[in-house]
Symmetry: C2
Subunit: 266 residues, 2 copies
């Protein structure tokens, strides 16, 4: 997927919403608990309910992995379902992988060949080796951790401006067509600094909603001429209701968040 | 597993060898290619051949993940086989995971509950949140990336001494009984600095063999009073031969590496 294709989706839907898929057997509605593949069925219903508003889906691999190979099978089913029915919607595997070159190549194969994901989130700790194998795939994206939304981002990312070094250096490895950065909504003023370092790259922004960030603040500091933002919400959408109306509630929550994005898209 | 139990293994075997399990369908012997679970069968044979010498096995999740849920099933079978037949040998899932608290908890569940791994390698980029959920498991270990063995460790880990900040700060989160650090063999003189920051913690040392590090140099800078080292070799052992004698060749390669460890263990 190219940045033009992504931007076309954003314009068509007047939304830069990314819906995070974090399926949890303890939270999904009782009516799905008896299914053979409950994580997949839950995600499929959420996807169908929010596809009119979302420009991106972000399955979190941990929420599948914790159920072992049965969970992985459902991750594969979920990604396959999205790309079969909504090929125009970006799929980001939120995997935060990061290893030396030959191992990173295996992770790229897992997400780009074994599954048809468009993008993978990656940890930059080990440097270029951990990112380059993903950038070698035509039409695929590396989403590199810059400044994350959690409290302990202060431990190392903020220390000595590490997140700025990461973004500056990673800019040499990719282009605005295959490289984006994670930049949390919980420190919106820093989004402005990040935007000045990478004016043309998309930013994947977690931390709106449950974690306290606001769409208006993110838009203020993060928007660029071609939007340049993907704002993620997971729990606020997928668990908007835990009853039988979970899909309708998710659709309503997605619409409500997307409505907050419209002003900035002029 | 406690550090006492690990040290007892090291003394009993006069070895601090960790055998890395990176099974690759393109490299495993032709005689296994027709198996229903070739990755598992290959790993099982390597494990049986090297268990007399190895104190640790380190399956690399990427090499299973790239084959999808069929690969994950074989990762589960491999870990299950080791802990059933050799419960005294430590199993480190080389996964390099690292995410915010509630997601990190899911990864901990994947490796410590869904599978009986003793330890997981973790990326410290996102700070304490990414590590703490693993330390909450009694008898389990977090293996935090310090200074890795790859060339691009220079991009960020060496920049401003990040690896030293990581090790110093992580020391506040765990103990020598649940926290170790990855410290590559390719920059042995820096192992001495790392040892001075964390005198009592085990170090997991990759980079011997194919990557150019030597056991003697690692021992010189890294040994402590209770050994404190796990030196990993993957390709040098598991692909010592790609013929039908692969298991015997792996055993010989493991013995040869362990023999280099004996002098330092006095």
């Amino acid at each position: 997927m190219t940045s033009n294709q992504l931007y076309a989706q954003i314009k068509a839907k007047a939304s830069y919403l990314c819906v995070g898929l974090d399926p949890d057997l303890e939270k999904i509605p009782a009516c799905l608990q008896g299914e053979k593949y409950p994580l997949f069925i839950f995600c499929r219903e959420i996807v169908d309910a929010t596809a009119a508003t979302a420009v991106c889906f972000k399955p979190n691999t941990a929420f599948f992995e914790c159920y072992g190979s049965w969970g992985w099978q459902q991750l594969e089913m979920t990604v396959g379902y999205i790309k079969e029915h909504y090929p125009e919607i970006m799929v980001i595997a939120d995997a935060k992988r990061g290893d030396i070159g030959n191992t990173a190549g295996r992770y790229a194969k897992a997400f780009f060949e074994n599954m048809p994901c468009d993008a993978v989130t990656l940890s930059p700790y080990m440097g270029r080796d951990a990112i380059a194998p993903f950038l070698a795939y035509e039409g695929k994206w590396a989403v590199v951790l810059g400044l994350t939304s959690n409290a302990s981002a202060a431990d190392f990312e903020l220390e000595g401006g590490l997140y700025k070094s990461v973004i500056s250096k990673a800019m040499e490895w990719g282009t605005p067509d295959n490289l984006m950065f994670v930049a949390g909504a919980t420190r919106p003023e820093m989004l402005g600094e990040i935007r000045s370092i990478c004016p043309d790259n998309f930013l994947l922004v977690p931390g709106v909603g449950a974690q306290g960030g606001s769409v208006a603040e993110v838009a203020k500091y993060g928007l660029n001429m071609r939007c340049g933002l993907l704002v993620n919400s997971s729990r606020g959408i997928i668990y908007a209701s835990t009853g039988e109306d979970f899909a309708e509630a998710a659709a309503a929550a997605a619409d409500s968040l997307a409505a907050q994005m419209r002003p900035g898209l002029g």
